[in-house]
Symmetry: D2
Subunit: 287 residues, 4 copies
């Protein structure tokens, strides 16, 4: 976390074979890079290799803009899926909300305190309720009421806005609308949702009511990337809290809010620190 | 837990109305009982009142054998479902197992150490594997191979055995057979199962494999009373553990074993200490 | 939590003897009160009895203002320490802060959302930094710089302010000054502090640095009532989080902030719901 | 964890500098090794680099016996502290006990089930009580009553025994004696103790009684390597459990036993899987 000096982060996955670490670390060393983190994982079932490697840009002989090009031959040699990130870039976030404010406040306060290194450049809502929150943090607020009759036009408008503002990450902070497939496809693994339940339990609406009816002793919250299939995207983070027969549905909702805030901000942080690799419908979390 | 002196425990539920505590506590006080625990709960949705009250038998003017009769008029006045228990009775337990030994060992060691106040009087199995475990603890072991063609006869045999031995509680310690409806009906709220998953997630077979495939970050275990509907009985206790992409299915199974032991023994302890009231498909746990 | 109707709460402790529940519940029943919660505890070591009993005021024959007087004879019979509370009273809170804002925000947002039923009527600080936060929530902010040379005068000023505003509860939300004995004596069991460590570990300054140096794998936070002896008051709530060698001191501080917020708000909630009885240097928490 | 094929594990620490990963991975690659795990950590304060790298022996061109010699030049180049381990070696463990059996049972059952890959070759005790446990698992039991008047002779005897049996790891499973400095020095970072408290809290005797007196809401257990200074060695693993005013000292002890078992076995497992590097008084845990 003490990133005094800017670093480069390489996230990659490829078929497992001998020599990947050797070749990647040789590339960095020969260009005078100082590796400060290196983590890897091999999925045995699919023989897939995953790596996250981070090195200081200071003293690195390849200029920042040339790294991708110079690394490309290695990437091709090992048939890598890969992405390159720089720790001093502040991604632009659009937060989508409805009427519930706890996740929005939580994200904005963590950004304000420097805990999350990003900028929220817009709050998009389907209700006007949370405008005052956005105002307090001096963030442009845009209310885009969703019109069932006009869904594809609405989506196109939203997608256009995202483009215009150069949004890197969309965070659904208890946004009670389904994101259209167009936007999901365009922002693959870049839309983070908080589901107020311990997935895969209680898929769908009113999970706290379902939890209450079932008489569970533990409730949970799940943060995941959004895919076309509702609540089925790759899970990033989960947390749970104990409940008892004394807890009403309202108590579950209250306890759930704490979970939702913590789990969503944890997921956003992992994404911002480039610690997540998605493969299939799962995540590798290099924390 | 420091039950130096024998106590009586009354567990009851009834329609909520004024005067229940007053009447029950008056009954105990007027008979010179010293209440050492009293706990209650009101379910607002159904207006149902629940109570657990425990008092010392020492000095109580009604002899142990007469308490039920003398309390009966109060119980009828409030239309109570109720049961009476004595802390110095050691219930007789039958533990049902298949091939997996961790829950069996855990239960037997906790009984041996005095942590659970009950006697396991038989270990019933559908395989011979765990006979040596039962032998070590000097507990009669009985292998009743289940024959799909002869299910009702097998069940009748088992039910007869339970009768003969005066079994109070059946604990399914990773018993991989479905208990027949006859036995379930007879031992209503007296058969405790450990489900190796965080119910309601992953109902059914191989939950750790399902958890692995879904890429969850937390796994769980659930202990519940057995009802006719598979895995749908009232939940008594649950616990969870964190997992990551580094955990193979085998790791999940290993971590799950710790959960299963702890959750099952917790549920058995709550039952033995007469701290559970079942209502509908839920439990009130007075702990 | 679903307090649609106003209730009375009686918190009491007294020497353990027969008949307390019977007498208290008779009092409520004969005055037509409907008990909705009743919880008790007996401390065996000291033979002390504790009780929390809550009943609906609706239909209760004794008017609110007369309950204390009418209960007094029972209280004297059993030599009770007792207090009476009404669920629809909103206590007045003074929050004391220094420069750190996360606990202040957390408390104010939970009050705003209705999760905590109280009013923060002033924010007292020894620095100007958090004035903007108080302003956003429209709460009077008062900076009282502490002058070591003038301690007793400062304390008298603060105590006077608390009086004037009719403060019921003081919450130290990461306030980095020691509260004077005068104020501590006056607000006995009504000043709640958050200590950023798992008491009794790491008493004193910079606990996260100490935790880092010791190489612990878990950090904690502790909320307690303030007594004359620093960090030694009755513990109300604690929570912990896992850490590893990868966590820098800054990471511990960040993880600790989550703990501090959750633990402090939990303690304040328990206090506001009149669920805490202090005895000696410990608490009985009726949750 | 699915170690079908034998692997080599290199654990190392050295002053941080450029090129370490590159050089180590080149060494493995050029000898046709297939890296299956590689993890590293840099301690910024002390500029120390830590690495754990694991590769399959199958196909590796350097024979097992020659690896150390062939790696030596790299190790010297970077001034490494290092150790080499093979996954198919089963370390020999001596378990030291007094009268309490829960940790002993837990370790032996986990070894029996294959969860821990090691052999307990002796149980050393200062009381006869647990002989029957050792007998059940067919492990030689040796009672070495400690004689305060004869401490150094006793220690020499114990050290001699450890030598004779080729003990790799000593596990103190609630052994209530202090290990002599001679043995501590000889088995540096190879003696694991379970402390029944959340270190650094409650150092010394009867921690559960201390926790009870202090009225804590959470108790813990800590596993650490034994050093000359009592309870001050590098912490390997910790865990906690919630307690309340309802818990007597006996309840704390019971809950603590669960913690102790889980934490001790976790620490032993991490050691056996060669996932711990000690530096100064702290541990790096590559899990």
């Amino acid at each position: 976390m003490n990133k005094e000096k800017p670093t480069a982060v390489l996230l990659l996955s490829c078929p497992d074979t001998r020599g990947i670490v050797a070749e990647v670390s040789r590339y960095i060393f020969e260009n005078n890079g100082n590796i400060i983190h290196s983590d890897q994982h091999t999925d045995r079932e699919t023989s897939t290799y995953f790596m996250r490697i981070e090195w200081e840009l200071d003293g690195f002989r390849v200029p920042r803009g040339g790294i991708a090009a110079s690394f490309d031959s290695i990437a091709r040699m090992f048939k890598m899926n890969w992405s390159l990130h720089f720790s001093d870039c502040r991604p632009k976030i659009a937060v989508f909300v409805s009427k519930t404010d706890h996740c929005l406040y939580d994200l904005l306060l963590r950004i304000k305190s420097g805990e999350l290194a990003a900028d929220v450049v817009t709050v998009i809502a389907n209700h006007e309720d949370l405008k005052t929150v956005a105002d307090y943090f001096s963030i442009p607020f845009r209310c885009l009421p969703s019109d069932p009759a006009n869904k594809s036009a609405d989506e196109a408008l939203t997608a256009g806005l995202m483009d215009e503002m150069g949004i890197d990450l969309i965070v659904l902070a208890r946004y009670m609308q389904i994101i259209g497939e167009g936007l999901v496809g365009k922002y693959k693994n870049r839309i983070i949702n908080i589901h107020h339940s311990f997935l895969p339990a209680f898929v769908g609406a009113k999970p706290y009511h379902q939890a209450y009816s079932r008489g569970v002793k533990i409730i949970g919250a799940t943060s995941h990337y959004v895919t076309a299939e509702l609540d089925q995207g790759p899970i990033i983070a989960q947390d749970v809290a104990q409940v008892s027969h004394r807890d009403s549905v309202e108590d579950l909702i209250r306890k759930g809010k704490n979970l939702e805030k913590n789990v969503l901000s944890r997921a956003v942080q992992l994404h911002l620190e480039n610690k997540i690799v998605v493969f299939g419908n799962k995540t590798v979390i290099f924390d």
